[in-house]
Symmetry: C2
Subunit: 526 residues, 2 copies
């Protein structure tokens, strides 16, 4: 297994007639699933013809091809086929503004775009636009009838991809700063495939629900692993808790990945209108910190489902740690761990000079493995800031225990320094989340004359409460769980959801910015 072609090749060898993709291309409001299926033989055939079609447009190996569309079988096809044939995919975040999309396409030198959007600013920017579904399907249909394994047997003109060939540019920076193109090679993503196979307990008879957006690493974390096994992937075009629960019930989904905001929404919906979710043997979750209360609630509402906590970063393709059977540990000392380094990753906690710290001390999390990105596209300085000697400096603060379990305490930049004390926002969020009326919350630092920074929180309460909790009561609740200096001095209770990235991460920057306007915000932490 050296390139993207290999997992598909194995699927053709062991599962040609089995269902590769069920495309849940349904209207979220209707909660209907059309049952659009492709076998692996059909998927590989479409992959081969897609590559043939793109070559007929004049595209060559190494060309960047942007993807801007909802989850579905065409996303799976493009994700698998383009890198296998030597193209470089550039998945675009569907929530970005036009100016941001333009920036990325220019930065990456995108030559072609596959999109389900109506014509817009990008059409003028890229040489070829392939519109989904019609033009895309026409391109596939018109291409020379390649043999089903054409995409994996021959790569046409240009250099055949190798382990160190670039497979994709994955832009990050949804929550802070300008977007950077994370360069992931075939080696990086194949290394992650092995890590996913050994850490997420994927199986050949799995029916994996792809509900996180596929332009995000969380949405594609298991694609190569599922394909290598010949397992089935079921896609939904966008996350909707009702649609997802209906899909789990109808499609007998066995495993999936959720980001924490999805977990919260799934719990709410399952409590409101329970579905039969007994088929779901495993839920992996990650991409941002999660409240233990949320996991406990999930355990109650989904009693047949094991939990595996994942931690990683786009720069790590993306997995770094995994906590198997986390649901058995939610009442013990490791309840807030994100697990041990996956088999292919070394994890260390280091001081600002990169020197490993003793067990138990808090420092920056550093990761090494074949999954560590090649760098940021055309950004050598930013690359040098995070990569050295094969180690990736994550910007996350954490500590390790004696058995290598990692406890994240905060993003370095989200740590609050108040009166000389370090306050980890995640710890305060955990305290707030234990209040039964709190649906979601975010904690961040605001300027304070006396303390430098003060702890502040935005809180969303559950809907339909007869007697909403007061700010004073929330502060008193926090005081029962954490030290006084950590208790938020300011709490804003809102009814609107907190601002989130397309991947479901809460955008603390947007909450924090109004307080810091005209001031110089502290940069970095620890």
């Amino acid at each position: 297994m050296r390139t993207f072609a290999d997992p598909l090749r194995r699927a053709l060898a062991v599962a040609a007639d089995r269902v590769a993709v069920v495309d849940g291309d349904a209207q979220p409001t209707g909660n209907q699933l059309t049952g659009n299926q492709l076998s692996y033989a059909e998927l590989a055939g479409r992959c081969a013809r897609l590559v043939g079609g793109l070559r007929s447009l004049g595209l060559e190996s190494g060309d960047r091809v942007a993807l801007l569309m909802a989850n579905g079988h065409r996303y799976v096809e493009a994700y698998l086929a383009l890198p296998a044939a030597g193209f470089v995919i550039v998945p675009l975040n569907a929530r970005l503004a036009d100016a941001e999309l333009e920036y990325i396409c220019t930065d990456a030198g995108v030559r072609a775009l596959i999109t389900d959007r109506v014509p817009g600013v990008l059409d003028a920017l890229v040489e070829h636009v392939v519109r989904v579904p019609d033009a895309y399907d026409d391109l596939v249909a018109a291409a020379d009838t390649a043999s089903p394994d054409g995409v994996v047997a021959g790569h046409g003109p240009g250099a055949e991809p190798g382990p160190d060939t670039l497979a994709g540019l994955f832009y990050t920076g949804g929550t802070t700063g300008p977007a950077k193109g994370v360069m992931l090679t075939h080696r990086n993503l194949v290394a992650n495939m092995w890590n996913a196979l050994t850490s997420c307990d994927l199986r050949a008879d799995d029916r994996y629900l792809v509900m996180a957006p596929m332009f995000h690493a969380a949405g594609t974390v298991a694609v190569l692993g599922c394909v290598a096994l010949g397992a089935t992937q079921v896609t939904v075009p966008a996350f909707d808790p009702g649609l997802v629960l209906d899909t789990i019930e109808r499609e007998r989904i066995t495993t999936t990945l959720a980001v924490p905001t999805m977990l919260v929404a799934l719990c709410e919906e399952q409590a409101r209108a329970p579905r039969d979710v007994s088929s779901l043997r495993l839920l992996t979750h990650g991409a941002s910190p999660v409240a233990v209360e949320t996991l406990r609630r999930f355990r109650t509402l989904f009693p047949d489902t094991a939990l595996v906590h994942l931690y990683g970063a786009t720069e790590l393709a993306p997995l770094a740690t995994a906590f198997a059977d986390e649901h058995l540990h939610l009442d013990g000392p490791r309840a807030r761990s994100c697990g041990q380094g996956v088999i292919g990753c070394r994890i260390e906690v280091v001081d600002p000079e990169g020197v490993p710290l003793p067990i138990g001390e808090v420092g920056e999390v550093a990761v090494r493995g074949d999954n560590v990105m090649a760098g940021y596209w055309a950004k050598p300085e930013q690359t040098d800031a995070v990569l050295s000697d094969g180690w990736y400096r994550s910007g996350d603060l954490g500590r390790l225990d004696r058995e290598g379990y990692l406890f994240l305490v905060d993003r370095a930049k989200d740590m609050i320094v108040t009166g000389g004390e370090n306050v980890y926002s995640s710890e305060v969020e955990q305290a707030l989340a234990t209040h039964p009326q709190v649906l979601e919350c975010a904690v961040f630092g605001i300027p304070d004359e006396q303390w430098g920074e003060a702890v502040a929180a935005s809180v969303v309460l559950r809907p339909g409460l007869d007697q909403p909790v007061t700010v004073a009561a929330l502060q008193a609740h926090c005081r029962e769980h954490i030290a006084g200096f950590k208790v938020p001095k300011r709490i804003d209770v809102t009814t609107a959801p907190l601002p989130k990235s397309a991947a479901g991460k809460i955008l603390k920057r947007e909450l924090r910015e109004p307080f810091w306007e005209g001031r110089t915000e502290r940069v970095g932490g620890a």
Copy 2:
């Protein structure tokens, strides 16, 4: 995970205090286990000091070090530490004659030998002999106190091993021809680690019994995987069915690997004196063809144990295919399959020119993957005969079904051509083995004036039978299962066990040779 150092490094990170090795250094007759345990921290410390001790003798990276000793914690130490430090291990088959051992040590240019034998011919041949246990333990004790992760943190003088550094020379040829040194690199053996982890369902809480000899690939197939997980390995110095069953019961063994002759012996012993083997959740088996009857008997006697059939070769480091949950398929059409290609291997069935054959047709099994050996040591012609374009030609005959399940029909050289018909010896052996009185059997070709070759069999009956079956009755029994031309024309019933290699493979050569003396035996097949 690029070299041998990486699994041990991970074990130190996640399982420093857990039991790495339980050394069952007991007398087979006494059935006692002394309970000699090493934690991973202790194991890594001894590995580091072993390397320091060997360096103090003047050994350098790239030097070949032969291992000639029984399974035990010292074998595990040497197997892990020497390649990690850049040495090349040369495991020696303990059953070989002196002349064969001399040949190998000369061929490999062995500079040091670690052995539990009394001084003999090899002492004059190699520069340094480290005798187990005393001199070995003295060397380890006298070495500079290295940090526990010394073996994995620094490699001392010489080039640091990389993925393509040679890790070991593994001599094969126990059953035919002169021994060849299979060159396996770190990449090869790490690739096998991933294949073992994903195909053998190894788990972090496993207690793996190493009962196949560690000088054979079957004895070390799971070492790197167990170490990477931080699992426990329990060794027995030599296979004895009573000792093994006692060990399974006492040590609560969860998984192991057996060769078919061990399976037969374990079934006999468990039927004679049942032990509590309920802890054994998984038994992998392979290394030579197995009678389905044996597997069915095992399933009855070990009802809590899942079966995984493995197929491979030393040249493949060694895994190529795996049949998960084989015990559920012993009465179906796949009963005689050895499973699907492991995730990291491509399997094809090819004609004599190397062209892939259609599904269902019998041809030579070819394998490709990062696990394919670098070649035979100092034997370019033999290397070219089996390696081309990254493919390894196995010399085994088989066919694939539509889902990539491989059915081996025979070794190419064991196929019998009688009257122009191909007879696969394994098929005849399967027929004989279904007779309740047959304990073990081997089928081979002998010269025949009329037919060129005739089918012959050596059969061992179960002990203590009141009315042993006659040859005519055995032939009649075969005729119920296979075509007349496949039924052995000659059957020798013996009470002595069939001759076997140290790995438990029946040595058909020894059975066949007396019949062919003075004649030119057909070479190759198909």
